[in-house]
C-alpha cells in the first residue's frame, strides 16, 4: 500500500529528521499565546530581554543533559554557579585580579567541584544523586564562606559579557551559550565520546563488555557539568554585575526540567542538547510572559506547573505516534 503524503505523514517524516519538532511547536504555541495576551510581548525588546537572560541556564542545562544521558544526575549545579560567581567576585574586588584570570578561577572551581562529584560517583561508585546532593550543600556553604555571606558588587567591568552587542542585538554570553549548544550536540551525536556516554547510559554492563572503561566517561560528564556550571557562575555574575552567594538556588530543577521537556530521559541513554535548549526557551518564555502579564504569584506557580506537564504531554503524543 502506497502512503500518501497527508499532513500527519508529513509531520512524522519531519519529526524523524528533527525529533524536537513537537516540542518546538509547543514553544511556538506559547509565544503565540503570550503575544495575544500581552500587548508588548511580541517585540524585539522582549526577545532581547529573553536572550540576555537565558545563557546561564543554557550552559548549565547542557552539562545536566550530558550527565542525564550518561545515566547520572547533577543536583549541585546551582551551588556550583553560586560558588564560581562568589570566587569571581572576590577575585575581582578583593584581589583585583584581571577579569580573564578571575573568570578562569571561577570556571576552574566549578571544574574541581565537578571532579569531586565525578570521582566519587564513578571511581568510588557512590550513588550520584547523593554525591551531588552533598555537593549542593557543601558548595553553597563554600560560596557563603568565600563571600562572607554578602553580595559582592563587581560593577560594570564584568557586564560587557551580558550586554547586547551593538548591531547584533545579542550578548556575547548568548553567543557563547549558543555555540556550546551546537558544539555539544555535535560532540554527543558525532564523536566517540558522545556515543560512549549514550552507550553507558543505556546499558553500563554491555558497555564494559564492549571494552569501554566506563569510569572516565561518567567522571568526564560530571566534570563537564561542573565546568559549565562554573561558566554559568561567570555569566550570572556578568548578568548581575555582582556575585550573590544565594544565586541560582533551585537552578538544578529548572535545568532538569528543561532537559526532560526537550526529550532527555532520566533513565539515561537518551537525550538531545538542541531539545534541552528548546526546553530552556520554553521556561524563559514562560517566566517572561507571566511577568509581563503581571499575574499573581499563586497563579504564576499554577501556570508554570501546568505548562511543564503540558509540554511533556505534547512530547509524549509525538512518541506515541
Amino acid at each position: 500500500m502506497k502512503t500518501k503524503s497527508n499532513p500527519s505523514n508529513l509531520f512524522s517524516r519531519i519529526s524523524l529528521v528533527f525529533e524536537e519538532l513537537f516540542i518546538f511547536l509547543a514553544l511556538l504555541a506559547l509565544v503565540l499565546i503570550f503575544s495575544l495576551a500581552a500587548d508588548n510581548f511580541f517585540t524585539t525588546r522582549t526577545l532581547v530581554a529573553i536572550l540576555t537572560q537565558l545563557p546561564a541556564l543554557t550552559v548549565v542545562t547542557i552539562g545536566m543533559t550530558l550527565v542525564l544521558i550518561s545515566g547520572g544526575i547533577d543536583l549541585s549545579v546551582g551551588s556550583i554557579v553560586a560558588l564560581s560567581s562568589a570566587i569571581i567576585g572576590v577575585a575581582l574586588t578583593v584581589f583585583e585580579l584581571p577579569l580573564l584570570m578571575a573568570a578562569l578561577l571561577g570556571i576552574a572551581a566549578g571544574g574541581c567541584a565537578g571532579l569531586v562529584n565525578g570521582v566519587l560517583g564513578s571511581y568510588f561508585r557512590l550513588p550520584i544523586f547523593i554525591v551531588t546532593l552533598g555537593m549542593l550543600e557543601a558548595g553553597r556553604g563554600l560560596a557563603y564562606m568565600v563571600t562572607g555571606s554578602q553580595t559582592i558588587f563587581i560593577g560594570p567591568s564584568i557586564q560587557a559579557l551580558s550586554l547586547p552587542l551593538p548591531g547584533i542585538g545579542v550578548s556575547p554570553a548568548f553567543l557563547i551559550a549558543l555555540g556550546l549548544v551546537f558544539i555539544s550536540q555535535l560532540v554527543l551525536t558525532r564523536t566517540v565520546f558522545g556515543r560512549y556516554l549514550i552507550a553507558i547510559g543505556t546499558n553500563e554492563i554491555a558497555a564494559r563488555i564492549s571494552g569501554i572503561r566506563t569510569e572516565p566517561y561518567l567522571n568526564a560528564a560530571l566534570l563537564i557539568s561542573g565546568l559549565l556550571a562554573g561558566l554559568g557562575g561567570l555569566i550570572n555574575a556578568a548578568y548581575l554585575g555582582a556575585s550573590d552567594p544565594n544565586a541560582a538556588t533551585g537552578l538544578e530543577l529548572s535545568a532538569i526540567a528543561a532537559a526532560v521537556i526537550g526529550g532527555t530521559s532520566l533513565m539515561g541513554g537518551r537525550g538531545s542538547i538542541i531539545g534541552a535548549f528548546i526546553g530552556v526557551l520554553i521556561i524563559s518564555v514562560l517566566q517572561n510572559g507571566l511577568a509581563q502579564l503581571g499575574v499573581s504569584e499563586p497563579f504564576k506557580r499554577l501556570t508554570t506547573g501546568l505548562v511543564i506537564i503540558l509540554a511533556v504531554l505534547i512530547d509524549r503524543w509525538r512518541s506515541r505516534r
Binding site: 560532540v187 551525536t189 558525532r190 564523536t191 566517540v192 565520546f193 556515543r195 560512549y196 549514550i198 552507550a199 543505556t202 546499558n203 554492563i205 554491555a206 558497555a207 564494559r208 563488555i209 564492549s210 571494552g211 569501554i212 572503561r213 566517561y217 568526564a220 541513554g269 537518551r270
Partner: protein, 508 residues
C-alpha cells in the same frame, strides 16, 4: 472434539508485515511444535495469543469460544501460561516469589510465605532446581537456572485452570540432561489434557517431544504435520525453502603459535585457579553442566571479575602483554559474547548501527574522534548482509529484532573489531538451524585466519562439531582435557558430572 485453540487469518505487521494470514489449530492433550527461521514471527504469534500484543486482523477461539485477550492478565485468567523467550523474571525478588508472581498465595492480606515456599519447592524439584533455597534472589542465578525458574513459573498455573502452556525457547541455555527432564515433565502435563505450544530451534528436541509440528515461514504456516512422519531435514527444507549444505567435519589441522596463556587464574566468582593455553587457529571448547562455572571462567579471563588472581597473557609475534581489565582485553584483540544478551549485550532501544559499531570505536583512539553516520551505517549494513541479519536496516532499534537476529548483531559487533581471541558464551543460543551453520562457518573462518576461540556451549553436538580441543569443567574445576577426536559424548558427560557428586546436584 473441539480444538483447544484455533487461529484463523491472523495478521500482524510492525513496519513490515510479520504475520500474514496465519491459520493454526491445536487439539487438547497435544504438544504442538512451532519452528521457523529467526524472525519468522514465532514470538509475535505467541505474544498475540498470550495477550502481550494485539493482532491487526484474524480470529482466535479457545475451546470453541471466541477468545480475546487485550492484556496479559486477561489471558492468564483464561488459562494461558507462558514462558517467555526473553526472560521475564524480577531480579530483586526470590525464586519462589517469581514462580508465583501472578498469583501470590495470600493469608490475611499478607503473602503466605510458608505455602509459597512449599509450592515453589515442589515446582523447583520438578524442573531440577534442587539444591537451591526458594528464597534465593533471582539476581544471583545463572542464566540456565533463570530459564528453569521461568519454566517453573509457567508450570505454576493450577492444572484445573491451565488450558494452554506456551514455551518460547524454554531450553536454549539448558544442557541435554536438563532438556530431557523438562520433556518428561511436559509429557506428564499434557497427559492431563492441556495443550502445549513448544518453540525451539533444536529440531531434534522438537521431534522427540512434540506430537505435531508447524513450520512458520515469512509469516505463513507452510506446513503442519504429526512428527511421526518427519525428519529434521524435512523441517529444515520447509523452514528455508531449500536443503542446507552438510557442514564439513572439522579435520585435524596444525595449530599455530601460542596466542593466549591463562596462568593460575582465579577470582571471586571462579575460586579454583586454572591454567591452560590456546593457539592461533584453534577452537577450544569448554564443556560443563549448568553451574559448572563456564561463564565465570570467561568473565574472569576477560577481566570482569572482582579479586582476580593469576595472569592472562596474550602473545603476539614474540611480545607478551598481560591483560587485567576488560578494556585492556578489548584493546589487545579479545572479544566476549556474553551469555545473556539482554542484560550484558544489547544496547536496548538503540539502532542496530550503534550496536554493531560500538566495540570498534576504541580503535579510533581519541575520545573526540569524529564519527560519520553514513560510514557507520555502511559498515553496519555490510555486517548485516554478511551475517544475514533479518531487519529493516541499520537504523532499526535492536530490541525490535527477533532473538536470534539480536545474537547475530552481537557477533557482528566483534567481527568488526577484528579481534583474534574470542570468548563465546553460548554463541548460538536461540539461533535457527541455518543461521547456526552461518555462524559456525564464520567461526571456522576466524580460526582459519589465525584467531583462537574459546567456546562455551550447552550443546555437546555444537562443541564436538566445532572444537579442536575440549576442556571439561565440573563444579568450577577443570577436570579433563580432550584432544581433537579423542572424545565421545559418554566420556564428556561422565567428566561433566564427575565433581558434582554429593555436591549441589544441578539435575538428575
Amino acid at each position: 472434539m473441539t480444538a483447544r485453540i484455533r487461529i484463523e487469518g491472523l495478521c500482524k505487521s510492525f513496519a513490515a508485515p510479520v504475520l500474514e494470514e496465519v491459520n493454526l489449530q491445536i487439539m487438547p492433550g497435544r504438544i504442538h511444535g512451532l519452528v521457523g527461521e529467526n524472525g519468522a514471527g514465532k514470538s509475535t504469534l505467541i505474544n498475540i495469543i498470550s495477550g502481550l500484543l494485539s493482532a491487526d486482523a484474524g480470529t482466535l477461539e479457545l475451546n470453541g469460544q471466541v477468545y480475546r485477550a487485550p492484556s496479559r492478565p486477561q489471558a492468564l485468567q483464561q488459562g494461558i501460561a507462558l514462558a517467555a523467550q526473553e526472560l521475564s523474571l524480577i531480579d530483586t525478588l526470590s525464586v519462589a516469589e517469581n514462580i508465583f508472581l501472578s498469583a501470590l498465595p495470600q493469608n490475611f492480606m499478607t503473602v503466605d510465605r510458608a505455602s509459597l515456599r512449599k509450592h515453589a519447592e515442589e515446582l523447583m524439584a520438578q524442573v531440577g532446581l534442587l539444591a537451591m533455597s526458594a528464597h534465593t534472589p533471582v539476581a544471583k542465578l545463572a542464566l540456565a537456572e533463570k530459564q528453569l525458574v521461568e519454566m517453573a513459573k509457567a508450570l505454576s498455573m493450577p492444572a484445573d485452570n491451565c488450558q494452554l502452556l506456551i514455551l518460547d525457547e524454554p531450553a536454549s541455555a539448558l544442557t541435554t540432561p536438563q532438556v530431557e527432564k523438562l520433556h518428561q515433565i511436559l509429557r506428564e502435563r499434557v497427559a492431563t489434557g492441556l495443550s502445549i505450544i513448544y518453540v525451539s530451534h533444536r529440531l531434534d528436541d522438537v521431534l522427540s517431544v512434540c506430537d505435531d509440528v508447524s513450520v512458520l515461514r515469512d509469516g505463513i504456516i507452510v506446513s503442519t504435520a504429526p512428527t511421526t512422519y518427519l525428519t529434521a531435514n524435512d523441517l529444515i527444507t520447509a523452514m528455508c525453502g531449500q536443503d542446507l549444505l552438510e557442514h564439513r567435519e572439522s579435520s585435524l589441522r596444525q595449530a599455530g603459535d601460542l596466542r593466549l596463556k591463562v596462568d593460575q587464574l582465579s577470582s571471586a566468582i571462579f575460586p579454583q585457579s586454572v591454567s591452560f593455553e590456546c593457539r592461533r587457529g584453534e577452537i577450544l571448547g569448554i564443556a560443563g553442566l549448568a553451574g559448572a562455572g563456564r561463564s565465570e571462567l570467561l568473565h574472569t579471563i576477560f577481566g570482569l571479575a572482582p579479586d582476580r588472581q593469576g595472569r592472562v597473557v596474550l602473545l603476539n609475534e614474540g611480545t607478551e602483554v598481560e591483560v587485567r581489565t576488560a578494556s585492556e582485553a578489548v584493546k589487545q584483540g579479545m572479544a566476549l559474547i556474553a551469555e545473556d544478551r539482554k542484560t550484558q549485550g544489547n544496547f536496548a532501544d538503540k539502532p542496530v548501527s550503534l550496536n554493531t559499531t560500538i566495540a570498534g570505536l576504541g580503535k579510533l583512539g581519541v575520545a573526540l574522534a569524529v564519527l560519520l553516520p553514513r560510514r557507520e551505517e555502511r559498515v553496519s549494513k555490510e555486517l548485516i548482509d554478511r551475517l544475514q541479519v533479518k531487519c529493516e536496516g541499520p537504523r532499526q532499534s535492536i530490541d525490535r529484532l527477533s532473538g536470534g537476529n539480536q545474537q547475530k548483531v552481537l557477533l557482528a559487533r566483534w567481527l568488526q573489531t577484528e579481534s583474534d581471541v574470542w570468548l563465546l558464551d553460548e554463541p548460538t543460543r536461540g539461533v535457527d538451524v541455518a543461521s547456526k551453520l552461518t555462524i559456525h562457518e564464520q567461526l571456522r573462518e576466524l580460526r582459519d585466519l589465525g584467531a583462537c576461540l574459546l567456546i562455551v556451549s550447552s550443546e555437546l553436538e555444537e562443541l564436538t562439531a566445532l572444537c579442536d580441543r575440549i576442556l571439561v569443567l565440573s563444579n568450577r574445576k577443570v577436570v579433563a582435557t580432550f584432544e581433537g577426536g579423542q572424545w565421545s559424548n559418554e566420556q564428556l558427560l561422565a567428566e561433566m558430572f564427575s565433581a558434582h557428586r554429593g555436591q549441589r546436584a544441578v539435575n538428575h
